[in-house]
C-alpha cells in the first residue's frame, strides 16, 4: 500500500516537472541564446555577450516595428475595452430580444480563424476603395479583441447589485451620472484586465497584420516572421524576444498585483467577522 502510494506520488511529480519543462524550456532557450556571442543559436555557448541587444536596438526597422505594434496594441486595448463596456451594458439589459443571437455575433471572432477575418477585411477594404493601412490593422484587432473584453467586463457587471444603480437614481442621479459615479468606478478592476488582454491580443497578432499592414510598415510579428528567414538577423530577434518574455512576465505580475491593489482601494479591507461583533457590541 505504502509502496503503491510512493509510486503514485513519484509519477505525479514526474508528470508535473515534465509539464513545466514542456511549457518553459522554449522560453529559457530564447533567453539563454540571447546572451550567446555566437551568431548561430547552437550549443555549446561560445561566450557571454550583450552585443545582439545593442545591434537590435540600433536596427531602426526592428525598433520601428516594435513601436508600431505597441501603438496599435494600446489603441486596440483602449477602444476594444470601451466597446466591451457598451456591449456588456447592452447584454445585461433586462429586456433584450434575441439575446443569444447577439451574444453569438459578438463572440464569433473567437472561433473564426484570423486568416479568414483577414481575407474578409482585405476584400471589404478593396470594395470600399480603401488602401490597406495600419488603421485597417487596428480595426481588425479591435474586432478580435472585443470578445475578450466582453468576457472580462460582463461577469463583473453582472456581479454588481442592480440596487446600486437604483440607489444612485433614488438619491438624485440621472442615468448617465449614475453610471459614471457608481457603475464605472466599480468596473475599474475588470477594465484594467480587459485593456491588458486586448493589448496582448493585438501585440501578438500575425495573420491580420500580415494582410493589412502596408509594405514597409510591418508590425512586430510580421517583421519577426520575415526576419526569421534571414539568418543574419536571427540573434537580434532572439535578443528582442527575450526582452518581450521578461516584459510579459512583469506585465502579468503587475496586472494581478494591480488588480488586487485596486480592489483593495475600491472596497476597503473587509474586517474579520470577530472584529465586527466587538465593534457592534461597543456601539450598542
Amino acid at each position: 500500500m505504502m509502496i503503491l502510494r510512493g509510486v503514485g506520488r513519484a509519477s505525479l511529480a514526474l508528470y508535473y516537472w515534465a509539464f513545466i519543462v514542456f511549457l518553459f524550456a522554449p522560453l529559457v532557450v530564447i533567453v539563454v541564446f540571447a546572451f550567446n556571442k555566437s551568431s548561430t543559436p547552437v550549443l555549446p555557448i561560445a561566450a557571454f555577450s550583450t552585443r545582439w541587444f545593442e545591434l537590435a536596438f540600433a536596427n531602426t526597422q526592428l525598433t520601428g516595428a516594435l513601436v508600431r505594434s505597441a501603438a496599435i496594441g494600446v489603441a486596440t486595448g483602449l477602444f476594444a475595452t470601451a466597446l466591451g463596456i457598451m456591449s456588456s451594458l447592452g447584454l445585461s439589459a433586462s429586456r433584450l430580444r434575441l439575446r443569444a443571437f447577439v451574444v453569438a455575433i459578438l463572440l464569433l471572432p473567437l472561433v473564426v480563424p484570423y486568416i479568414s477575418l483577414a481575407v474578409g477585411l482585405l476584400i471589404l477594404l478593396n470594395e470600399l476603395g480603401l488602401q490597406i493601412s495600419l488603421w485597417a490593422v487596428f480595426l481588425g484587432h479591435v474586432v478580435i479583441a472585443l470578445p475578450f473584453s466582453i468576457l472580462v467586463v460582463l461577469p463583473r457587471l453582472r456581479s454588481l447589485d442592480p440596487a446600486l444603480v437604483e440607489a444612485a437614481r433614488d438619491l438624485g442621479s440621472g442615468e448617465v451620472s449614475a453610471f459614471n459615479l457608481v457603475t464605472l468606478p466599480l468596473l475599474v478592476p475588470s477594465l484594467v484586465s480587459s485593456f491588458l488582454i486586448c493589448f496582448i491580443t493585438s501585440f501578438d497578432e500575425f495573420a491580420i497584420a500580415s494582410f493589412l499592414a502596408p509594405p514597409g510598415l510591418p508590425t512586430y510579428p510580421v517583421f519577426l516572421y520575415a526576419g526569421s528567414r534571414t539568418p543574419a538577423l536571427l540573434p537580434e530577434l532572439i535578443a528582442i524576444g527575450s526582452i518581450i518574455i521578461v516584459a510579459s512576465l512583469v506585465i502579468v505580475v503587475m496586472a494581478e498585483g494591480g488588480r488586487r491593489w485596486a480592489e483593495q482601494r475600491l472596497i476597503g479591507q473587509t474586517a474579520p467577522a470577530a472584529e465586527n461583533v466587538s465593534m457592534l457590541a461597543s456601539d450598542a
Partner: protein, 371 residues
C-alpha cells in the same frame, strides 16, 4: 410638511402576471405605515412603483395630490432604504451619505454640517471615513438610513431593511426606527413580511395578499379583529375554526361547533348565517377542570403542551373534533394543574373571544379608506 401618498386603482403587470392588482390605499402624512404580506404578494413592487423604479400598468401614484407618473426616481421627493442597503462599496461612509446632497448641488459647508448631524443621529460619526465593507450589518443598515434621511424626503420607503439582521439586533433596531420616525416626522412606508415587526412599529398596517389589499387598520385592530381568514392566518392566529351560524343568541350569534355543541359569539359578523369561519384568540381561552359547567364551555382532551417560559401553549381536541390552541399563563401556586397529554379538561371560550369572519372577504377593488 406633507408626505401623503395615495395609490389609486394601481395595477402593475409583468407579462400576464399581475404583481399589483388594483390597489387603493392612502398613507397619511407623517405616519409609520407598513405593507405586510408574504413574499410574492406584490408589496415590494408597490414600493418600487412609489419610488419610480417601475412604471404602473394603470392607476396612479399621488404624492400630496400630485400624480408622479412620468417623474423619474431622481426627481421624486421620496428616498429608499434598500433591502440589500445598496451602499456604494467604493465610497466612504461620509461620501455615501453626502451622495444625494452633492447631486442636489448643496454647498460644501452645508454638506459637511448636515452629514455630520445625521451621522451623529445614527451614532456613526466615528465611522465616517470607513468603507461600507468595514462595518457590521447593523451599522451598514444605519448608513443606508442616514443616506436617505439626510435629504429630508417627504416619504421614506423601506424595503425589509431589517431582514438581513439577527433577531436580537432586529428587535433593537425596530424600536430605534420607530423612535426615529417619531422624531423626524417623515412618512415611513415600510414593507415587511414579518408580522411582529409590523405590529411593533406601525401606526397603520395594510395586509397584502396576491396583489390586493386584504385589510387596512391599526396594529391592534389587525391583530384583534382580522377581517378575513387570510389576515387571521397570516397574523398567526392559531385557531381558525369552521362552524354553523344558526341564529341570534344574546348580543351575538349562536354557533354550532358540532352536534349538540353550541356557543355564543359576540364579535365580527354576527349577522352571518350558515357556514362561517371563526377566529378564537389563544390567549383568551381558559382551561378549566373536567366537568366545569356553564355557557360557552366545551369538553376537550389535551393532545400536547409546549412550555414557553412565561406560560404554556396547550393544544387540545374539542369533543366536536376541532383542534384548538390555548395560551395558559403560569400560575403562582405550585399545585397548578399540568396539561399533560390525555388530560380531560373543559375549554371556556368567552363570547367576546370568538370573532365571526365576514363571508365573502372585502376586496381592495372597493375603495379602502384609511381611518
Amino acid at each position: 410638511m406633507g408626505g401623503e401618498v395615495r395609490l389609486v386603482k394601481l395595477v402593475k403587470q409583468f407579462g400576464s402576471f399581475s404583481a399589483v392588482d388594483g390597489i387603493n390605499l392612502t398613507i397619511p402624512a407623517g405616519t409609520f405605515f407598513s405593507l405586510l404580506g408574504p413574499s410574492g404578494c406584490g408589496k415590494t413592487t408597490t414600493l418600487r412603483l412609489v419610488a419610480g423604479f417601475e412604471q404602473p400598468t394603470s392607476g396612479e401614484v399621488l404624492l400630496d395630490g400630485v400624480d408622479l407618473a412620468g417623474t423619474p426616481p431622481n426627481k421624486r421627493n421620496v428616498n429608499t432604504v434598500f433591502q440589500s442597503y445598496a451602499l456604494f462599496p467604493h465610497l466612504k461612509v461620509f461620501d455615501n451619505v453626502a451622495f444625494g446632497l452633492r447631486r442636489a448641488g448643496v454647498d460644501r459647508a452645508q454638506i459637511t454640517r448636515r452629514v455630520g448631524e445625521i451621522l451623529d443621529q445614527v451614532q456613526l460619526s466615528r465611522f465616517a471615513s470607513r468603507k461600507p465593507a468595514q462595518l457590521s450589518g447593523g451599522q451598514q443598515q444605519r448608513v443606508a438610513l442616514a443616506r436617505a434621511l439626510v435629504l429630508k424626503p417627504a416619504v421614506l420607503l423601506l424595503d425589509e431593511p431589517l431582514g438581513a439582521l439577527d433577531a436580537k439586533l432586529r428587535r433593537q433596531l425596530q424600536l430605534e426606527l420607530k423612535a426615529l420616525q417619531e422624531q423626524v416626522g417623515i412618512t415611513f412606508f415600510y414593507v415587511t413580511h414579518d408580522q411582529e415587526e409590523a405590529i411593533t412599529m406601525s401606526d397603520q398596517i395594510a395586509v397584502m395578499n396576491s396583489g390586493h389589499v386584504e385589510q387596512v387598520a391599526s396594529p391592534r385592530e389587525i391583530y384583534e379583529e382580522p377581517s378575513t381568514a387570510f389576515v387571521a392566518d397570516f397574523l398567526g392566529v392559531s385557531n381558525l375554526i369552521e362552524a354553523q351560524a344558526t341564529g341570534p343568541s344574546g348580543d351575538g350569534v349562536a354557533l354550532q361547533l358540532g352536534p349538540g355543541i353550541t356557543v355564543e359569539a359576540d364579535r365580527g359578523d354576527v349577522a352571518a348565517r350558515g357556514a362561517v369561519k371563526v377566529v378564537i384568540r389563544p390567549e383568551r381561552i381558559r382551561i378549566e377542570p373536567e366537568g366545569a359547567t356553564g355557557t360557552n364551555r366545551v369538553a376537550a382532551v389535551v393532545t400536547r403542551s409546549v412550555y414557553l417560559g412565561n406560560g404554556a401553549r396547550v393544544i387540545m381536541q374539542l369533543v366536536t373534533g376541532q383542534s384548538i390552541v390555548a395560551l395558559a399563563q403560569n400560575a403562582d401556586d405550585d399545585d397548578a394543574p399540568t396539561w399533560s397529554p390525555g388530560v380531560r379538561v373543559t375549554c371556556s371560550i368567552p363570547p367576546a373571544a370568538i370573532r365571526v369572519l365576514p363571508v365573502g372577504a372585502p376586496r381592495s377593488d372597493q375603495p379602502v379608506s384609511a381611518p
